[in-house]
């Protein structure tokens, strides 16, 4: 854990916050808005980018693997085992394992984050594809849809609610894990959180933590919205 030593000064700049900061009240809006531009805004943006990249890469890999497993059933078990092992390694341990190879880089962080999305996304995509009723598939074949057309026009749209359910879990997981990535890179909302942990200053800690929670809730909400708009039929199906 020697790497915990942060590169920046641990105590934030107390200047500019006035009385609220000097008394270390629970939350100082003035200080927060003063530092939105130099600390929290960029950290939030970094966090979004870290998450987006990890989930995108994870989604592409998981989708490809799920499509293979959908056509060739034997592929499911080996992929599940590998993804399952990656999923169970504690994040700190995974960082330690990767740093000697890829160094203290964004790549290291992303590899770790991607590896946590694979199992969730793979399982959900595959479950979604397998949930397509056999008679629907037969009707598609019987009407002359090719295998590819069946996949894109029938199977994937029907699997979409399950896929988005997987994405919701993956996104929330990655948003939370990406804070830990601050151990190896000075990016994302993790950095102000770690800085704040080692100081008595409440505002920085609450602001960074609160932003991470807000980001997770917002992303989740957006995905729910996307699912409702993209699959209006799914709500009827359960009713």
């Amino acid at each position: 854990m020697t790497r915990l030593a942060a590169t920046e000064p641990v105590i934030p700049d107390f200047g500019g916050g006035g009385e609220c900061v000097e008394r270390n009240r629970t939350f100082c809006w003035d200080w927060f808005s003063d530092h939105w531009g130099d600390i929290f805004g960029p950290a939030l943006l970094d966090h979004v980018v870290l998450t987006a990249i990890a989930v995108s890469i994870g989604f592409v890999i998981a989708l490809a693997a799920a499509l293979v497993a959908h056509r060739r059933g034997w592929f499911e078990t080996p992929f599940t085992i590998v993804a399952g092992i990656l999923y169970t390694i504690p994040s700190l341990a995974l960082f330690q394992l990767l740093v000697p190879i890829t160094g203290l880089t964004v790549t290291t962080a992303e590899i770790a984050l991607v590896s946590y999305t694979l199992l969730i996304l793979f399982r959900n995509i595959l479950t979604g594809l397998r949930g397509v009723p056999e008679e629907v598939r037969e009707a598609a074949r019987g009407m002359g849809l090719t295998e590819r057309q069946t996949l894109w026009r029938v199977e994937l749209p029907i699997a979409l609610p399950a896929v988005i359910a997987g994405l919701r879990v993956a996104v929330v997981t990655v948003i939370s894990l990406a804070t830990v990535a601050a151990l190896i890179i000075d990016q994302g909302l993790g950095a102000p959180i770690f800085n704040a942990i080692n100081s008595p200053f409440n505002t920085a800690f609450i602001a960074a933590g609160g932003l991470a929670v807000a980001l997770a809730l917002t992303a989740d909400g957006l995905l729910v919205l996307v699912q409702r708009l993209a699959s209006p039929w799914a709500a009827l199906d359960r009713g």
Binding site: E135, G142, G144, L145
Partner: protein, 388 residues
Amino acid sequence: MSERPQGEAAEIVFDAVTKRYPGRQQPAVSSLSLTIPAGEICVLVGPSGGGKTTAMKMVNRLIDITDGDILIDGRSVRSLAVAELRRGIGYVIQQVGLFPHMTVAGNIATVPRLLGWSGERIAARVRELLELVGLDPVHDRARYPAQLSGGQRQRVGLARALAADPPLMLMDEPFGAIDPITRERLQDEFLRLHREIRKTVIFVTHDIDEAIKMGDRIAILEEGGVLAQYATPEEILARPATEFVARFVGRDRGLKRLALTRLCELELLEPVTVRDGEAVDAAATRLAASELDFVIVVDAQGRPVGRVGAAAGGGVQAVRPGDLGPHAGLETSLRDALSIMLSDSARPLVALDGEGRVAGVVSYELISRALAGGTAPSPTTARTEAAS
């Protein structure tokens, strides 16, 4: 096949078609040969294991043919790319298989979209088809399959199969999963529809009654996909070719034959009528000359008010209005007519035309003659089926 002119049907030929599955001794379909004339409904029927669904699925190549060939208007099903072949054949299955993520309109538009029709043409076709199958073109088009009843789903399935106006339809137990009342309505509607659109239809069922009702011709398949008999329903019921067929159609095949004939197809007995208020005596001579033993009292429009027995001894009898006895419309089947007669004092039945006027009389002798001679009066073929 898609550029075929609208409404045209195709002739289908099964030429010694065999299906063998690896590792199984008995073929699923054994050298099946039959010709389905264009525009007819051919029902494949038989017990499970008879290979009827297998035989049907070889037409659109959902199952590969091991040996022999199937020709659609003289062209082998193997001469086309498989997707192209299937887009030219309507396909309806028992579980319907509607796409749950698409609206009714989207489902119906599936094949036209694959064929690259314009949006306008598709919209017009969807409207036309919804009307054709008895759904509301405005209200139902935007609904999802989950919002429909079983019967409505099968209607959409039918519309979807008809979308690109294919010359051939394959229907795999299409009404099998539907409650009896809705099933009967859908069967009737399909027959009406078929009279309009006149497509060649291959229809699979395990229900001999459905086969008799729906089929212009019936192919009965035995275990191992052996063709036991291929003939019209009338022929199969009158002269089952083998013991298997006789057993399969059932001991009540005489009654089933009655179901095939409607009163309007028979030459009914001439009724003896008398105007209400006139003396029954006036009809006495006519009654003596007919094989009937009653007089029907009619009003000025020729509608019956009651019947009067001849045994009354010549005197003028009071007519009790409403005592008409068994009566039915001309569209009634002989089977139903017989049932009405049996359940209503076993007297001859008065047949009424569309306006409710007396059209003729049905006696037991008449029914028995119809059964003996087939629907058309042809006494030469009688009695051959007296055995069993």
